[in-house]
């Protein structure tokens, strides 16, 4: 029994079919509880007023935007090294979700920035590197959709993902060098005693869990769709041959 068994599409379909409703339901519960808790049952911040509540969308989506790319990097590596088709399809399925997460983070950030910093957009390192990440996602998706042959597309996009990751990290540090920012540093980290005041922190954790589960559910759903599309294509091809 190893993880690699699920590289078999039949086994993957069986397992993901069983998990999918649970993750979807759990994500819905977490998001509903977390967002309602965050929006209506936390006090206003004494300086930021009620605008602080956008944190419940901004932080989880920003977190996911980066981690989705990381997941694509891992699945691309698995495709390059072990050539499991499910892995390549999972990377393909994850990219549009990542783009939407990046967009949510950018837009909620702009909405938050307007009352707080008095501007919708500044060329701050964090904002800029997110914009660059957005461009990387766009290029990745465009390359997938431009190539007809599935295996070629999987190969090319996974190499692009590897090279892109290196350059994304480079850009991250390059923009730090290029401009000083308004955005605060990392507020959440695992090794800190206290991150954000507890009243805000607890609903935020629920929201983050909700976003992670939402991503897993969407990713499973989209990967299943891709596998089914691939099967349909194969069946059609067989039909034509006969």
């Amino acid at each position: 029994m190893s993880l690699w068994e699920y590289a078999n599409p039949v086994k993957f379909m069986a397992l993901s079919g069983r998990i999918l409703p649970w993750t979807a339901a759990l994500s819905a519960i977490c998001l509903v509880v977390g967002l309602i808790w965050g929006f209506f049952f936390t006090p206003d911040d004494f300086r930021q007023g009620s605008t602080v509540k956008i944190i419940y969308l901004h932080v989880p989506s920003a977190l996911m935007a980066i981690n989705v790319w990381f997941m694509m990097l891992v699945t691309s590596l698995i495709w390059i090294i072990r050539r499991h088709h499910v892995s390549a399809l999972a990377a393909k399925a994850a990219a549009p979700i990542g783009v939407v997460m990046t967009l949510i983070a950018l837009i909620t950030g702009a909405i938050w920035g307007q009352p707080m910093w008095g501007t919708w957009w500044v060329w701050d390192p964090r904002l800029t590197s997110f914009l660059i990440l957005f461009l990387f996602y766009l290029g990745y998706i465009a390359l997938w959709s431009a190539i007809e042959d599935n295996d070629t597309a999987a190969d090319l996009t996974s190499i692009l993902c590897l090279v892109g990751s290196v350059f994304a990290v480079l850009s991250r540090y390059a923009v730090n060098f290029w401009n000083q920012g308004l955005h605060q540093g990392a507020s959440l980290s695992l090794d800190k005693e206290k991150n954000v005041a507890d009243v805000f922190y607890q609903p935020l954790l629920v929201c983050i869990a909700g976003f992670v589960l939402l991503f897993v559910a969407l990713m499973l759903l989209r990967t299943r769709t891709e596998i089914r599309a691939r099967r349909t294509k194969a069946l059609l091809a067989r039909e034509r041959m006969a």
């Binding site: 660059i132 461009l135 290029g139 431009a146 090319l156 994304a168 390059a174 060098f177």
Partner: protein, 218 residues
């Protein structure tokens, strides 16, 4: 290897080879900038370094699809794949030929165009230095992009979408050198970073380009 380089250079020099096209484009960009931002020379001299870098980058981008597309169409790439030269060598030579035909003329012309944009006199040496160190990275990264999109019909727009984000670090450090130089500040830190990026891409990216090209030829 040498034969391939000479062949590529000759092809580029011939009529219709696109030699000088990048240079003309660079000139047009430089000439158009005062029209769009106004002829005020104080303003021009503050943005000159950035404009020149951006112009050089766009001129480089313009000629990228010529690196591999023609060889792909007439089957030369298939022959090169069978040749004793490893694919990594082929793409490195292609990148070098691209740099010699596009990057080097840009560097030589840059001081002249800097004059048009009234770059402060302290800025010339850092500008040339940064272009000299930065444009090889542009060629190498561009070859990677060209290898990715070589099998796609009308992949030009896709090529720019893929390559431009990869150009970000080079552009940042390159124009930082030129800008600091123009302001009379010390520019050794960004120059070292720029050199690091260029050396890193020259050392590593040909492997990625070659892998991508092998997939496309398969």
């Amino acid at each position: 290897m040498k034969a391939l380089l000479i062949r590529d250079l000759r092809l580029a020099m011939r009529a219709g080879g696109g030699f000088g096209l990048g240079l003309a484009f660079f000139l047009i960009v430089t000439v158009l900038v005062p029209f769009s931002v106004g002829p005020d020379s104080a303003l021009l001299s503050t943005i000159a370094a950035g404009i020149l870098w951006l112009g050089a980058l766009l001129a480089c981008l313009l000629s990228l699809d010529r690196i591999l597309a023609l060889d792909w169409e007439d089957g030369t790439l298939d022959l090169l794949a069978c040749a004793p030269l490893p694919m990594e060598g082929t793409v490195s030579i292609k990148a070098l030929a691209h740099w010699l035909t596009t990057g080097l003329p840009l560097i030589l012309a840059a001081p002249l165009f800097a004059l048009l944009l009234s770059l402060p006199s302290a800025g010339y040496i850092p500008l040339i230095l940064s272009l000299l160190l930065g444009t090889p990275a542009l060629s190498v990264i561009g070859t990677f992009g060209a290898a990715l999109t070589v099998g796609i019909k009308r992949g030009g727009l896709l090529l720019s979408l893929l390559v431009l984000p990869l150009y970000v670090p080079t552009l940042i450090f390159g124009s930082e050198v030129a800008r600091r130089g123009a302001d009379g500040l010390s520019y050794s830190t960004p120059l070292i970073m720029l050199a690091g990026i260029t050396l890193g891409t020259i050392a590593l990216l040909p492997f990625a380009s070659a892998a991508v090209l092998r997939v496309n030829i398969r």
